[in-house]
Symmetry: C2
């Protein structure tokens, strides 16, 4: 069973000699062997495939990958033993930049693309450049994501899908990908003229290997070949799936366009744009519409010009559609390279081996994208300026500093995936308000109740790992209450570092609020049922927009009980307060946090009243969307909201308490950060240091006006 | 920059021809090129390395891997451009079984091994067999783990490290690996005689590639070579690290033994055992002890018999010790194959690129091991009988059944890692009691308080993902209270499926309890401070062991408040009860759960009293360790403890309430399972179905005696 020394080496050498002769023959000669092998005479039409690559040759001389790929019944036109055709693998040079183009539109496809890109990055060893054709939604999401991801040796360019629509919108299309599916046809016209070659991918593919191996297949194109494709792994184009099934014309089983090697400059030379348009127009005289979008048109063109296509090994596009014949490919192959979820059911496709393939997909779905921020050693630095600046700042930190963790956390740039789930921006309304808050997994159970209490738009930042983001997705999908709401925007901020970056999260949620006003809340509070309407009416009545720069204070209460009937009016709330079922918020532990709200006055108030700032005041407020941001230096527990209110006061926001507004804090187990604060004197000392630095900055910005905050700070108090 | 068509193909073919001639020359001839390249004359002594493999050859003809490996200054004796020496890659045949040996002892190394094995499995495409030399602790952990992991095409054999100690314990050793480090020396003697070759790995290596590529290097051994090793990447063996630094003898920089290819049958033929023992004995005449364990002895033997070693490319053991010169290796290489954390600081090593390498390690540390339960397509089935049985049972489930999720969850075999953290078994004491409970991440904050309330042994099952298990580890390490306790055993049960497998978790924790009695508790309860002592005294007084088969009932109470002063006595508890600060457990929602405890009688009781079973009774009890297991069919929320008490009653356990015992439930947010129960009628219907099936089984086992349970079930009640 095991190879034994020299005799084996002799055999291997002899085999190598034979192979080399064959290879030389194929590469240099006119492929007579190839033509001899095609008894059906179609080889000539197709352009005999040039020895696709396989990088693994087992020691027994059996060409593992090759036999799987070419001895494969799926390979149709060239289903003979062509293994001898396999040349030495030729990967692109170590630091060569590889180009990938992807068309992506909408929230769900954006999530798909990120999983695809994670799988690409996991195996890649070359610099990559992504060319992303996107609609406005995907662009917004992916620009933010890649900017904050800061992956070295990864470039990204965006192209407006909207601008391409006129070029393809005349084509009737029944495929679920809609117009976007057709956009692959126009890539040669829109990608930079200097770009000679590109790999085009559907959003629903997953890599299980280094894309450089795929790129290497360009080297096998003949002079005339311009498109590399894997054969379709279903019977669709055979036209026998049902009575009167009439697919677009294709060679045999046709080709699948989920993975395409495009030789762009040659495509431009052969007049690709004219070519596909003429073909499509002609076919549309007899066919009502495309069924499989661009794939129908690619196949029709190839049927007419078979010399254009270089067939690729099946492992580079293992198609898991419902009636796939992919098993013929993967059961023989040693290595799967790219998995294509080309059923509308995607990873939920029914296939007896779907579980096996799903594991690859789930690997990258839950994979911590932060781990992909790794350099390519030995290639010229491809670090972005922002990333370099960040690295310098991090390198300057003193690891021996007791507050090192705090300073490191402050500098951390978190990967941000805005509008993780489908979201409809609220219609423009002059007094509309977005509830802004942040949370992590342990507060998910608050979301349903919050949706019941706040019928308006929300912008929520969630601090999650990649795996938790998937759990969150399932949580929303399983909840009828949550999935019915399209006006709640969920922004995932990926976890990194030991301290909860509370103010960075708030800023992400705040930056994504799309209404003129925001209600800056916390996730463990439930607002009065009427609050949304009441606040909008108050903003209108107070003429906030034009007349005054104000922060509207929503008085905060708390219950210490789980089972609790929420008061439906101020009167009911006051009754609960009197009966001891409710308290003013943190009345026992941290009264100064809300004392300036003046609860006694609020009891009686009939109209909004102004209150003065005092030290440690941290009310929940409604402010214009362009209000000051939260100070990101405050991480973990403590003083994060207090600093924001100081900033509002320094910028001369009036603090107006609303007489009918209230919000109630529900009990929860103490957070890990608050536990650390309570148990660690270092933690408390670091918070004190942060507060002092904040005040120094404040003095720098506001001068003498900031003196009162410093004075207040210097009075001894219990910390918070 | 990009290769262009035919001219490139011609160049590649010419290069191939040249390479082939060179390869033939090397394989068939006497390596004259090799000898010519070694000006220091040592090549002959070393046995000129036979063209180590590199599977990647870039299209520019530069042999990427090869130049990195052999043009590498680290490569010492053969640091010349040997790239032309690279033959065609020869991987082992598709389904060939590869063997790996690892020595592993203790809790921490067991965790390391699992991460290593995950990285192996992630990239492997061949069946593997692990030969694990373990102490009793590691064997216990790893046997359970691999049995429950059920990875197809993975065999595991265990060897007793204890039995090997006499063979090596005479060698004084200063290395942190202790005696276990030396055990690699005796592998040829203890592995099965029919096993010809094995790859030996340290526990602190991580794979970043397919181990078959490493196995393929065996094909390059000359007839005399028996050991494949990578050169050491530090200056240790040069003996110039400090004054009077006197390392063991080695060739140049010596070799690192973190990754070894052992040709076992040849080692046996050359009398390996005699050879290393003689060398070690001789060196120990002048050297006091080994500093680097087995590595010193391997190097001393190789210095004497250089013909035995086949040097391997540096990428197969990239050593990240403190003063590593590994950068010379990895900055040139395209591909890193194996990373070796050979500093005592492990992944916390200070190295300017440690972050890069740590990402590989973290990838597998947090990787969901369930995803590795994937078959190898095209190889004969290597499924274990248990796995096959399970697959059959799962296949028989009806996906349309409304309770499909429940039935699937019941059948799920969770991967189990017992004693995840270091643990000392309690000394044998006749009345000792282990607290048994289960939890998930959202209850971690209970652990410290629980440790303060229960000073005795605990056995806790944690339901976690692989990534959460690491968070848990950090949580314990950061807590002085938790890290001080060695008598708390944490058993990680890996998450899989949508429903919380509460009774499976309880059974894992129960099975691992090592004292004669167990207190079956829940994680959100805190026992009275005195309970541990009181229970032991009660067991002794009641003479439970000999006299009676009893379950001691610990009455349960609850507080609805977060801030709460725990009563230090029964008197204080009664006062809180009277003041309305405490309630009997679930008094409002589910009184029948604890009503039979008879709280009124308990108030006055001075002595233990017997109570009768009644429907839905679910007290917290102390029972012998060999008590009935929990019924694993109850998953998610509801009836999981009730069924266990029914079982105890059916087996005629007396229920004795203890007059001074109490435990108090702390409030927490409702679990997701209870929310689902409340909102889903399907969920409630399925629970009802499970209850009925449970009673049918009960009748089958206990006959007429079980009638009372069925009667009780049929009385209409609110569900729980």
């Amino acid at each position: 069973m095991l190879p034994r020394g020299r005799p084996r080496a002799l055999g291997a050498a002899a085999l190598l000699l034979l192979l080399l002769l064959l290879i030389g023959f194929f590469l240099l000669g006119g492929d007579p062997e190839c033509e001899r092998l095609e008894p059906d005479g179609r080889a000539g039409d197709l352009g005999c495939p040039r020895c696709p690559l396989t990088p693994r040759v087992p020691s027994d001389g059996r060409l593992r990958g090759a036999s799987a790929l070419h001895g494969d019944p799926l390979a149709g036109h060239w289903d003979h033993n062509r293994s001898a055709c396999d040349p030495w693998p030729q990967l692109p040079p170590k630091c060569e930049l590889l180009h990938v183009a992807i068309v992506c539109a909408g929230h769900n496809s954006s999530r798909e693309v990120i999983t695809l890109v994670k799988s690409l990055l996991f195996y890649r060893k070359n610099p990559l450049h992504l060319h992303l054709v996107t609609d406005a939604v995907a662009r917004n999401i992916l620009e933010t994501l890649f900017r904050t991801w800061m992956v070295p040796a990864l470039g990204v360019s965006f192209y407006h899908a909207d601008q391409l629509q006129p070029q393809i919108s005349w084509i009737p299309n029944k495929h679920y990908s809609g117009l976007y599916g057709l956009m692959k046809l126009v890539l040669p016209g829109i990608l930079p003229p200097g770009l000679a070659r590109v790999i085009v991918l559907d959003t629903d593919v997953t890599f299980a290997s280094d894309i450089a191996e795929l790129w290497a297949l360009f080297a096998h194109f003949s002079d005339k070949q311009v498109i590399g494709l894997v054969e379709n792994q279903s019977d669709w184009y055979l036209g026998n799936l049902w009575k009167n099934h009439r697919p677009w014309p294709a060679l045999g089983r046709g080709f699948n366009t989920g993975v395409i090697l495009l030789w762009l400059d040659r495509l431009r030379q052969v007049g690709w744009e004219q070519m596909w348009k003429l073909t499509a127009q002609r076919e549309l005289l007899t066919l009502a519409a495309t069924s499989l979008a661009d794939q129908d048109i690619f196949n029709a063109v190839i049927k007419e010009h078979p010399e254009l296509v270089q067939p690729l090994p099946c492992v580079w596009n293992v198609q898991l559609s419902d009636h796939t014949r992919a098993e013929h490919c993967y059961s023989e192959a040693a290595d799967l390279k790219v998995i294509h979820w080309n059923s509308p059911k995607k990873v939920r496709v029914k296939n007896k081996h779907a579980g096996f393939f799903r594991n690859f997909y789930l690997t990258f779905l839950g994979y911590d994208g932060n781990l992909l921020r790794r350099e390519l050693f030995g290639c010229p630095s491809q670090t972005l300026p922002e990333a370099e600046q960040l690295q310098r700042a991090l390198a300057q930190l003193d690891e021996e500093d007791a507050c090192f963790e705090f300073r490191q956390q402050q500098l951390t740039v978190h990967r941000v995936h805005i509008t993780f789930l489908p979201h409809k921006p609220p219609p423009p309304r002059p007094h509309d308000i977005t509830l802004v808050a942040q949370l992590s997994m342990d507060r998910l159970q608050m979301l349903e109740a919050l949706c019941r209490h706040w019928p308006g738009p929300m912008s929520l930042a969630l601090y999650l790992t990649d795996a938790e983001a998937q759990q969150f997705l399932h949580f929303v999908e399983a909840s009828p209450v949550l999935s019915a709401r399209q006006d709640v925007a969920y922004h995932v901020v990926y976890r990194e570092g030991p301290l909860y970056p509370v103010n960075q999260l708030r800023n992400v949620a705040l930056a994504q609020a799309l209404t003129p006003y925001v209600f800056l809340s916390d996730i463990d509070f439930l607002p009065a049922y009427s609050l949304y309407d009441y606040l909008r009416a108050s903003i209108e009545q107070l003429e906030l927009g034009s007349r005054r720069k104000a922060a509207l204070v929503v008085p905060a209460f708390e219950t210490l009980r789980y089972r609790f009937t929420f008061p439906s009016s101020k009167a009911e709330l006051l009754a609960l307060l009197d009966s001891g079922s409710l308290y003013t918020f943190r009345y026992h532990e941290w009264p100064q946090g809300h004392a300036p709200t003046d609860y006694a006055r609020w009891r009686e108030a009939q109209a909004p009243y102004r209150v003065q700032w005092a030290a440690d005041y941290e009310p929940y407020v409604v402010v214009p969307r362009d209000c000051p941001r939260y100070d990101p230096r405050f991480v973990g527990f403590g003083w994060n909201k207090v600093a924001h209110i100081v900033e509002l006061d320094a910028q001369e926001f009036e603090l107006l308490v609303l007489p009918e507004a209230f919000t109630i804090h529900l009990p929860h187990a103490p957070s890990l950060d608050i536990s650390r604060f309570r148990s660690s004197s270092t933690y408390r000392d670091c918070l004190q240091a942060l507060k002092e630095e904040f005040h120094q900055d404040l003095s720098r910005r506001y001068g003498a006006a900031a003196l009162k905050y410093l004075t207040a700070l210097q009075q001894p108090r219990s910390p918070a």
